[in-house]
Symmetry: C2
Subunit: 210 residues, 2 copies
Amino acid sequence: MEKEISQAVIRRMPRYYRYLNELLEAGVERISSNELSARMHVTASQIRQDLNNFGGFGQQGYGYNVQYLHDEIGNILGLNTTHNVIVIGVGNLGQAIANYMNFEKFGFRIVGLFDVNPALEGKEIRGIPVKMLEELPEFAKENRIDIAALTIPKENAETTAVMLASLGVHAIWNFAHVDLDNVDNMIVENVHLSDSLMRLSYSIANGNDN
Amino acid sequence: MEKEISQAVIRRMPRYYRYLNELLEAGVERISSNELSARMHVTASQIRQDLNNFGGFGQQGYGYNVQYLHDEIGNILGLNTTHNVIVIGVGNLGQAIANYMNFEKFGFRIVGLFDVNPALEGKEIRGIPVKMLEELPEFAKENRIDIAALTIPKENAETTAVMLASLGVHAIWNFAHVDLDNVDNMIVENVHLSDSLMRLSYSIANGNDN
């Protein structure tokens, strides 16, 4: 069933999850679709429609049970399991990712840091030492790696992606400024920061403010 | 006319621009929509449709003039002007943004760095010293600020956004893990990294590989 869900709905799910997580942390147990709608600046009807894609989770007049809805959306997003993450490229961006505690809350656990710069070898971030990239094949034999975050120059991204595939790593969180469409059997989620900045520029040029 | 363009088309424009920029750098002067299509993994018909939203830029049988198409898409994206950018929050992520040379190529110029941590005061990144956030009002009087990149904890994001609006800064590139929908007259482009990681998790759970 989940295969039929549109990309637009999927794009909105993490935002729902984020808001529900905040409600949970604030001790809110139950919320009406109108209240959730007001908080999220999405129509109540949109919320109901989105959730109906997964069978719907509310009862008319009772609103949503926050914990239940949170957990169910978590399941949909595959957050009911821990993901082991390595970071390849330990510059400022790689370090920012390795340091960001919030990802851990959602089950993403940094298990390894790799770079090609010998000056970084052994440097520890949150107790994890930076290893040289040539050590990755050995590391991959001994550790389950679910996701590789790539924060490396675009020139090296495809080669690295191919190497990862050969080591049995099949998901890349890609910050390199290149699409990795050519790597077979690889799940790629791109974070193209310059694209985002250009969309901001477009909005400025066209006055799309709040 | 540009007001009528759908969000989906706008989302694809930076990617076109990025590819055309690479073609330019590789010295390619002319490209058919079929070649562009093969490179970008988008159908030629999609490319033609997208570009027709802006009047179309190709001639049947002649393909696209790369420089012309690049420049026209740049104009659409508002890249025909320089944007002065400040970074608020000079941790790893803020430093990564300040250091990233590629943004400059597209006309985004870092003009100021601000933080609340006195330990960072005066530290220079690419020749720009970190100032304390309390100096921002004075700085804003003397410098044009087009965009503020917010790489600060979510707890402080809305207050900072309101302050920015009061100083005449009306565009935020938001990395804080909170939406800033409540700030009036503010253009906001969100980069929610945890949302992106959750979409990757969804793709892993549902086997959406290349």
